[in-house]
């Protein structure tokens, strides 16, 4: 009975939420042939006449948009720094197609087309319609799992687009660690750029595929990128999905403190 009581007490806790203003629109992509629902969350003090804002592109937008937008507002306030525009990218094609860099057993390899959609269709629209800073250093991409894999792909193959990468439980294992190969191939042209990379994982992701490639990617970045602001975090006692939000919080803190 006391056990039940404790749980009921815990279940009655209210999560404090921070309201934010947002706009929604759709883009029919010429690159992928799919339609994407885009949401844009504005900083509470958004003033397009006096300021331009960094922009955070959030993959798996349906799942992550509210959490990221609320916590960008909260953390930027705590650190007394300016907030970002949060751009949620909803699902168009299957995420196993859009977020994967090659055709393999687990995915369709549509990342190149999806990246063209982001680079040539979405970003120009955001930067023309909103007060978004157009510098590479002011663009952030955030993704989890296959979304983290796509963020890693953007890092290795389209490094001129984003300056900041929050990769949460990235599926580096995908297609025999093809991302590690892409990183190696592109290293000479991107290693001297300034980058901010946050790599997060759940400590108990012990399914035999996440930990070693994650560590290998971290080691490659740490050894070969002199201008990188790099952080690695294993969320204690948490698994693949459970570590996502704690890693979003830590990744946002790392970004706002080190950008």
């Amino acid at each position: 009975m006391p056990f039940l009581f404790v749980l009921i007490l815990v279940s009655c806790q209210q999560e404090e939420s921070i309201p934010f203003l947002s706009e929604e629109f759709s883009i029919n992509s010429a690159s992928t042939g799919a339609t994407y629902t885009i949401n844009v969350a504005f900083p509470q003090d958004y003033n397009p006449n006096t300021q331009s804002y960094a922009t955070m592109y959030v993959l798996d937008g349906e799942e992550n948009f509210n959490f990221v937008a609320e916590n960008c507002e909260r953390i930027s306030r705590e650190l007394s720094t300016s907030n970002v525009l949060v751009v949620s990218i909803g699902y168009g094609r299957d995420r196993a197609i859009d977020y994967t860099p090659s055709d393999a057993n687990e995915g369709g390899g549509g990342a190149a087309q999806f990246m063209l959609f982001v680079k040539d269709e979405l970003i120009p629209r955001i930067e023309s319609d909103y007060a978004a800073d157009t510098a590479r250093e002011s663009r952030i991409i955030l993704g989890h799992s296959f979304g983290g894999l796509f963020a890693a792909y953007a890092f290795t193959n389209y490094n001129a687009v984003f300056g900041n990468y929050l990769m949460l439980s990235p599926s580096i294992w995908y297609d025999n660690e093809i991302i590690l190969k892409m990183e190696k191939e592109n290293r000479s042209s991107i290693a001297n750029r300034h980058q901010l990379v946050y790599l997060g994982l759940g400590e108990l992701e012990g399914g035999g595929r996440m930990l070693a490639p994650f560590q290998a990617f971290y080691v490659q970045l740490e050894r070969n990128y002199p201008g990188i602001a790099l952080e690695k975090q294993l969320q204690p006692h948490l698994d693949h999905q459970g570590s996502k939000n704690p890693n979003i919080l830590d990744g946002l803190h790392f970004y706002f403190q080190n950008r």
């Binding site: 749980l7 399914g207 035999g208 930990l211 006692h237 999905q241 459970g242």
Partner: protein, 203 residues
Amino acid sequence: MKHIIYLSIYFVLVSLTSLSAQNGQIKTAKHSFPVAKLTIEPAIGLNPYSMSNFLVSNIVQWNIEKRLSIVSYTSYAYNNALERDFNYIRTDYNNSLTQKFGIGTSLYGKRSAHTFSMMAGIKYDAFQETLHNPEFEPVTATVKSVSPDFGLMYNWKVGKGKCFFSYRMYLPIYPYPLKSFDIWSLDGNLANMTMEFGMGIRL
């Protein structure tokens, strides 16, 4: 709100299981299921979520009274047993050790007993993976972690002799909701859920 709904469903299910067991007992019980002071119940089992974590375990149940018992549970799990080399990622080892204690109450039928215990303890996880893709230099990564373990255990005993059949199921309440209210963290609970079958001995 979502959390409250999930927790409510959880407790309705647990309560229904308990009530159904109790109703069965009221109809058929002649209170002839033997209640020993001490039972030892070794078992083997698995995690039904991954279907690839196998374990051996033992429960020692001390019946203080007919309906009140103290339980000690020990287990060793061999995890990720079915996929130890995937995409050049070798699992060198992946084991868990658990020790927890609980307090339980039992409902008795004619030939069986149902014990519900609230458990608390610790779980030690250790695993190591090596990336041995020939295109890169080998990288090994290790995790050793001690985490709390809380949950509800259901134990079903059938048989009147010195030995009996024992089935048990463990539903963790960690990390959700005790560490985190994030519904996504339920995958950690699922990864620690177990179903076990074994033989019990009355002492």
